[in-house]
Symmetry: C2
Subunit: 476 residues, 2 copies
């Protein structure tokens, strides 16, 4: 195994190029991820204190790739590299950084520089960064910002985490209902400096500033100047400012939205969410499900050993407790086991098969609930289907195991015991695997988080009980 | 448990409304998913053959929600509902349907209707639908389409599945380098009918039709008419037509792209990919990882019992084989177990803890590889960190289990055995959990698919060996 690790650290013989243009090509591997060799070139330049080379190396990278580079460097190298980043690029790099790395680095950015960088970001990105600052630094930075920008950030931070309010940017384009396409375009050209860098819809609002529709910019472009906005606008899906980001992502995905207006409780337009923010949310939410199913809380790529231990130990202890309870079922059967020792080898097989079958069923159920493909309208049908699958798989696997065992032990009764135990346990696995997430979700819990603990306990406990209980009935 | 299922099928007392506008509000639940009661109202109307009511019920739904409704109806109801869908809405409903349901329904749509619906779709969606048709129906439908549309679909289908070529639409807007903003806008207004329904960038091309930049439409809108395109255009990320869709999604996510030009091997612009297609890809790819980690191949929401059995049985059999091999390690220790029967209860605990710790480590590693946060530049550091975590968690959990066992059995040597076995097995779990995905990925395999089989085998085999081997050394 250790040889593999050494191989892995080795890289194809490519001589790092000198010219800046070639550097750009060299920076990204074939898979468009940062070339590991590039990280080493930066680390070397840092060690040599070669400012000129660092400028070249950073100059060839997109801000998103500089943020990526930061993730691969050690903590010390990161701090050292920070002052070499062009102040104009800094804003973008900060928006792209992983939270833990950002928190660590922000301490080393002077408040004035930071205030300037924040001014260049969209209000949602700026609020994210400010949220990562320690209290006194935050006060300093906000004090150094213009009033309007500060107010925008403070309002964004007043919304709950993971809500539409946090996700939205306060920069958007709105036009009154009675305007024509020509009036709108003239307005855009006059106010060019105050517009968001990119926008995809002009929101059409009534006198109370409630959105009544949206005119996609590509429709504005090709319509005639005299056309009233009301004629080319489309229906909008208004997003309440306190909507959970997971729901926002669901709506964007379902209706293929590019942008959507965010409204206050009274219906007044206060911001917009664009689909590029949603891509991040979808990644985040699915990631959370994957990790929760495996019993890990995300500790982040740069977490220290103790951070990771803290994120995993609780699940291992939960596993220890449930497993300790499950094995108590073995206790009364000890005399039988001492006589028929081959049962010792069958116990782990039966419980492991149950655990796997349960995990399969529950993973599918958790995903179906998350994507809203499983609800009261089809729950009974899907439960019935899972139970049939459990019985069929149980019969198939039970026959294989029973048959294999017969070839080895020539004991028909023992094979029958094993067949029945597997069949029963895979039925229980299906029952637990489909019902645990449904019930947890009905109780308002996240089904991804605790389902596996429940199902593993059920299949272990019942697997032991089924094998030993049926053995006691048939073999004794 | 069965009571919960019954509760689950019950719904709050809300009387279904009569007016069409109220129907719209009633159709979607608070979470913006289709109200289960609505599904039942449609099923009832179908049973009564109430055409008028069906038209009302469908009329209140967005095409995406009609597709969703189809997913919740039974197969027969679906077929019956099909002719009630407005032909103009049919194209959109077909693009939104799950593949299995679409395949099943397409048989019942007349070829002429289908050819017309396909003409209204973007080329990527139309190709998806044609791909689901059976050979002779496909020939009929294609024959009924205008030459240009048919050619577009056939070209799209000539690209490999899950590539940029399949994902892209052939409808896009391009303008020559030397045009001004004014010329471009005039052109868009003249050609209004031939433009894609929505677009976000005008691609600027050289005489060889290679993209040299992109002008976001919001920049076109606010620039002055005399401004040359070359002045407002931005750099583009060209997507080769054969790039894997997972890589395309990575690039969109990393650089926050809204649209990107797709080019043929010679560099010629042939299509564009927009971010709303990417949202689907990201969902799909992460979903694949979740299911693969749990040992399930996606059989789809509407798969039959046998389809699901086929998607899960191979993994259970793999589990059966590896587990059968793992338990052979118990065999030579049977005489010892017959004497010290409490070992029977400790075996499942030690192997289960190892399995869980291994799953934690491998899930984090699989995700880090998928999001390109783990590569040769930081592999050694991350492996070292995982091994430290394994030792620390092993010590913590080992102490708990050893301590608990001492309170029960008052046997210091036995507690020591268990402590050492847990410590060793959690170290092995960390080693397997981090190295299995790294090595599999280096060998060009998908680390999500086979890692768990490898790691579970390692922790079971080694867990048994550690507990029994150390027991033989210390207790005998």
């Amino acid at each position: 195994m250790s040889r593999e690790t050494v191989d892995l650290a080795q890289l194809p013989d490519r001589t790092p190029p000198e010219a800046e243009e070639d550097l750009e090509d060299f920076a990204l591997g074939e898979d468009y991820a940062l070339n590991p060799e590039y990280t080493r070139m930066v680390a070397d330049a840092l060690e040599r204190g070669d400012t000129e080379r660092l400028r070249e190396l950073l100059g060839a990278l997109h801000p998103a790739d500089i943020a990526d580079l930061m993730g691969f460097l050690s903590g010390d190298d990161r701090e050292e590299l920070l002052p070499h980043i062009d102040p104009e690029v800094l804003a973008e790099v900060l928006s792209e950084l992983d939270t833990e790395i950002r928190e660590e680095l922000l301490e080393h950015v002077p408040s004035a520089t930071l205030a300037k960088a924040l001014g260049e970001m969209d209000s949602d990105d700026a609020a994210d960064v400010v949220d990562d600052l320690e209290a006194d630094k935050r006060a300093q930075v906000l004090a150094a910002m213009p009033d309007l920008e500060r107010a925008a950030i403070e309002t964004t931070l007043s919304y709950g985490e993971e809500t539409a309010g946090r996700l939205m940017q306060r920069e958007f384009v709105a036009a009154p209902q009675f305007w024509t396409v020509g009036q709108t375009i003239d307005h855009l050209q006059r106010e060019s400096d105050d517009l968001p860098e990119l926008f995809f819809d002009v929101y059409v609002v009534d006198p109370a500033y409630k959105p009544v529709g949206a005119a996609p910019v590509s429709h504005l472009l090709r319509a005639h100047r005299a056309t009233p906005l009301a004629q080319i606008m489309e229906q909008v899906n208004e997003i309440p400012v306190d909507m959970d980001q997971e729901e926002v992502a669901y709506i964007f995905d379902k209706y293929h939205l590019i942008s959507a207006p965010v409204v206050e409780p009274g219906g007044r337009l206060v911001g917009q969410i664009t689909v590029d923010d949603i891509v991040g949310v979808i990644q985040e939410e699915t990631e959370e499900d994957i990790l929760a199913l495996a019993g890990v809380t995300d500790a982040g790529r740069d977490a220290g050993v103790f951070g990771i231990v803290r994120s995993r130990l609780p699940w291992l202890l939960a596993n220890l407790v449930t497993e300790a309870i499950a094995v108590t079922v073995i206790s009364p059967f000890q005399p039988m086991i001492a006589k028929i020792v081959v049962l010792v080898m069958l116990l782990p097989i039966v419980s492991s098969l149950g655990g796997n079958a349960g995990t399969q069923a529950l993973t599918v159920a958790v995903r179906a609930i998350a994507s809203r493909e499983l609800n009261a309208a089809n729950a009974l049908r899907i439960v019935a289907r899972e139970l049939s699958v459990g019985l069929l798989n149980g019969a198939a696997v039970g026959l294989m195991l029973g048959g294999g065992l017969y070839i080895w032990q020539h004991d028909l009764k023992l094979s029958l015991v094993v067949f029945l135990a597997v069949l029963a346990n895979l039925f229980v696995a299906a029952l637990g695997g489909i019902l645990a997430p449904i019930v947890l979700e009905r109780l308002g819990r996240d089904p991804a988080v605790s389902s596996s603990v429940v199902v593993t306990f059920m299949t272990d406990f019942f697997g032991f009980l089924a094998l030993l209980g049926i053995a006691a009935l048939i073999l004794l």
